[in-house]
Point group: C2
Chain length 180, copies 2
């Protein structure tokens, strides 16, 4: 499937609602659970997505549109949220993410990007040259991957509880060495 | 984490809302996409979860409570939904799943299960003896695993589109041989 801006926005605009549906009002037993040391809980994932809104996707799109490859992107700090949200609650993070995402999508729509602009390039600190089209596609997949992570982390809390069902529930054995 | 009925219901009651948040109003480009032949699209997943409500989890819980291991469970037909929903729309399936799930959770709550009842056993056609506690835990994990599948299937449609980002987006390389 080729990149399509409208189809991408269909996904991007739903992520805050999806996370709210999954997590609002849920006990911390689920929302603060992880897959092990240095892995994200659902709470951390929402914080990480907020970091993406504030420092990554739209910031990088702007660099591509304004400066192109001569100005490399800032690296994405995957742990910025830890200090930022140390005293915050999940409901407040869910609200914040929804607000930031809505504003970023309003901005993205306002650019009315052309095919030529989508082919413009930027310099990723580790991946080399990437197009705006690839950046926006990665934004969509990044959202979906982190929703998958939230439900996987929750599911794994019941690995023992399901007893003999483990082989029929492959989500329990995904990412035995957590990668995201 | 040990099985807990209230914590399980927290997850089970959110799945219909989560799927609605993810899928309602989304183009068929996303909702009818799959990971390859004989794998489930998001549309198929909702149908499969409906099959679970109608034929699996509560039906098996009843067998455990009423008959115990002397009456083996019916096998779960993973493809029942194909014929059942051939002429149905996704909005109608999302409504149907929400209605069935709500009724099943009302029933589950009405049983006011005791620890002794949760230890009762049934005979699974392939897994052997399982407890009611394990069955209800598996119901929770089954939901979460299929939400993970929905977002993974959607994400994979952009595998080409993200270009060099693939190694940073592990959801794209999960289940290269689809298992669920």
């Amino acid at each position: 499937m080729n990149f399509d801006l409208d189809l991408s926005i269909e996904v991007l605009e739903r992520t805050p609602v999806t996370l709210r549906a999954l997590l609002a009002g849920v006990s911390e037993t689920w929302t603060r659970a992880t897959e092990g040391p240095d892995t994200f809980s659902p709470f951390d994932v929402v914080g990480h997505l907020i970091d993406g809104e504030e420092t990554d996707w739209i910031a990088r799109a702007r660099i591509i549109l304004t400066d192109g490859p001569k100005k490399p992107f800032e690296p994405y700090d995957r742990f910025r949220h830890r200090a930022r949200n140390a005293r915050t609650t999940l409901p407040s993070l869910l609200d914040e993410f929804a607000r930031l995402r809505a504003a970023n999508l309003t901005l993205l729509r306002s650019w009315r990007l052309t095919a030529t602009q989508l082919d413009l390039r930027g310099e990723h600190p580790r991946l080399g040259q990437v197009t705006l089209r690839q950046l926006l596609s990665a934004w969509v997949v990044h959202d979906l991957g982190h929703v998958a992570q939230v439900v996987r982390v929750m599911a794994k809390q019941y690995t023992e509880a399901v007893g003999p069902w483990v082989p029929f529930l492959p989500v329990l054995t995904d990412h035995m060495v957590p990668r995201s």
